[in-house]
């Protein structure tokens, strides 16, 4: 059994490391520092840590101010509030003026499971990828998180980084050559391709194992960068396997599935199914929620077989 490391812990550590290397980095927080783990940076570099309290809109505006002055702000709140509360300055300042602000939305998807629907985020990918100039990254494990934080800091422009509260099985190791915009084939197969992002990547790997036992060989692809999306790997997967299933802890409207379908419709129309949310969830144990709302390996297996039959 592989190591399980919480994405948010990996993020906190990565931010602290980044702070030590880059003195232009400043961190803003909206009172969830012990949840987002931005506090790890805050304890180390208190003079560069600005906790503005429960004021996400102000936090985004303030970050814009820092960015106009040449700093690299990382701002933190729950993913759903990054959209819901800070949307205006993110649109009219950060995206519009192409500012160097990194939006770190934690507790994504259903990972803040017990708090219930108000704290879940199923629309963040959809909103942020619709903004010009915005890079959208969704990470699947500890290693990918650390590399994404470094890579985001190096981007000259705004980045949305989607982070989970949940413990995630470590998939990569330090030799991982993470590149923004480059998807990764984690497993080869020829009957279908499972394209996952974030914590759903692990579910795709589980599903692939179950499908193998049933006699199907499927490719698994990790798409960490929803925008700009890796069109090449999507088209190659469509051409080589002939059926696609996308899997995201997000609405099926507007997120990874939509992004992939846009590529396929444009270039190589292919039977495709989407795994994602279609309704509000509820409070509960994280794994139980994933099962109930069809975000688990069993649901992926079913969807994959459906697409294979359409070939």
């Amino acid at each position: 059994m592989s190591k399980m490391i919480a994405i948010r812990d990996a993020y906190g550590e990565a931010l602290k490391s980044l702070g030590a290397k880059n003195d232009r980095v400043v961190v803003l927080e909206a009172d969830v520092g012990s949840s987002s783990k931005s506090i790890l940076f805050g304890k180390e570099f208190p003079e560069r840590y600005y906790n503005v309290g429960i004021a996400e809109l102000n936090m985004a505006g303030m970050a814009a101010g820092f960015a106009y002055e040449g700093k690299i702000p990382f701002i933190n709140t729950f993913a759903t509030f990054m959209v819901g509360r800070a949307a205006d300055p993110i649109n009219s300042l950060i995206a519009y003026d192409n500012l160097n602000v990194k939006l770190c939305g934690t507790y994504c998807g259903l990972s803040d499971s017990y708090d219930g629907a108000s704290h879940h985020s199923a629309s963040d990918i959809a909103y942020f990828r619709s903004l010009p100039n915005m890079t959208v990254i969704s990470v699947c494990d500890e290693i990918e998180t650390k590399k994404a934080v470094e890579a985001a800091a190096a981007v000259n422009g705004p980045v949305y980084l989607r982070l989970s509260r949940a413990p995630a099985e470590v998939i990569f190791d330090d030799t991982y050559d993470f590149r923004i915009g480059k998807g990764v084939i984690l497993r080869e197969g020829k009957d279908a391709t499972l394209i996952g992002t974030g914590c759903m990547v692990q579910k795709c790997l589980e599903a692939a194992g179950l499908l193998e036992a049933m006699g199907y060989s499927v490719r698994v692809v990790d798409i960490h960068t929803i925008k700009p999306i890796d069109e090449e790997i999507i088209c190659d997967s469509a051409a080589k396997t002939g059926a696609i299933v996308t899997v995201e802890e997000h609405s099926i409207y507007g997120g990874l599935g939509s992004a992939v379908s846009e590529v396929l419709a444009k270039s190589v129309p292919t039977p495709m199914g989407m795994i994602g949310l279609t309704e509000f969830a509820e409070s509960g144990d994280y794994d139980e929620l994933l099962a109930k709302y069809s975000l688990d390996a069993n649901a992926i297996v079913k969807k994959a077989i459906e697409q294979i039959k359409r070939k």
Binding site: L57, G61, D97
Partner: protein, 284 residues
Amino acid sequence: MDITMSISQNEAIRLEALCKELRIELIKLLHKAQTGHPGGSLSSCEIITLLYQNKMTLDPENPNAKERDRFILSKGHAAPMLYLNLVKRGILKEADLSGFRQINSILQGHPCHHKTPGIDVSTGPLGLGLSVGSGMAAAAKMNNEEHFIYVLLGDGEIQEGSIWEAAMTASKFKLDNMIAILDNNHVQLDGTNEEIMPLGDIAKKFEAFGFRVIRCDGHNIAEFSDAIDLAKAGRGSGAPTIIIAETVKGKGVSYMEGKNVWHGSPISDKLYEIAMSELMEVSK
């Protein structure tokens, strides 16, 4: 603290004459474009003009210089008054004005940082400038820089909750290098502030949020100049400052003064003639 008049009589006269000229240019600009916001641009004439033509440290040759004072037109719809001042200051060209609000031009309906030289922050949505100013002010303190950050707010604009979030932040982080100015013209779009959403005692509200509050007549150059200098003297006090400038929406054009309908209406040819004759007559 004893402040003697901070601006010479000659300079006050020069600036008053300039404001008269800019009001004329503003009406011409908005009439030609048949779009734009006359009321709130006219009410902020003295405020923006004094800042850009006298108080702010700016180098027209180098509009992005690190040492410059920053200005955020948080009430972004007063953009035309800002553009006219940028032309006067030598940062924009007279010829640029013909593109105001037109396609393929550098002069957008609301200030745009990435298309227009001399614009520090893109604005328009309202309620964001004090937050951005806070970030700029905090960055300046981090860098031990000496410049000031000016943020011009509208009174309708302070109905946005984000203004109060920013006020709390400015107080917490002791941003005494940020000077907010309220263009208190008492009128918004659907009606007066009193009719739409009464603002109560604005001075007390900002004081409660930890601001130094200075009041002045926003159309009196000498008084506003004193207010700015008193605000700047607040550096080191640990508190941000707000100057509540009493103004008249549509100031200078009799049929516009105090009228919400002139927040954003186009000016007809007939009304243009009336405005011009009023603004051009020799006063005093």
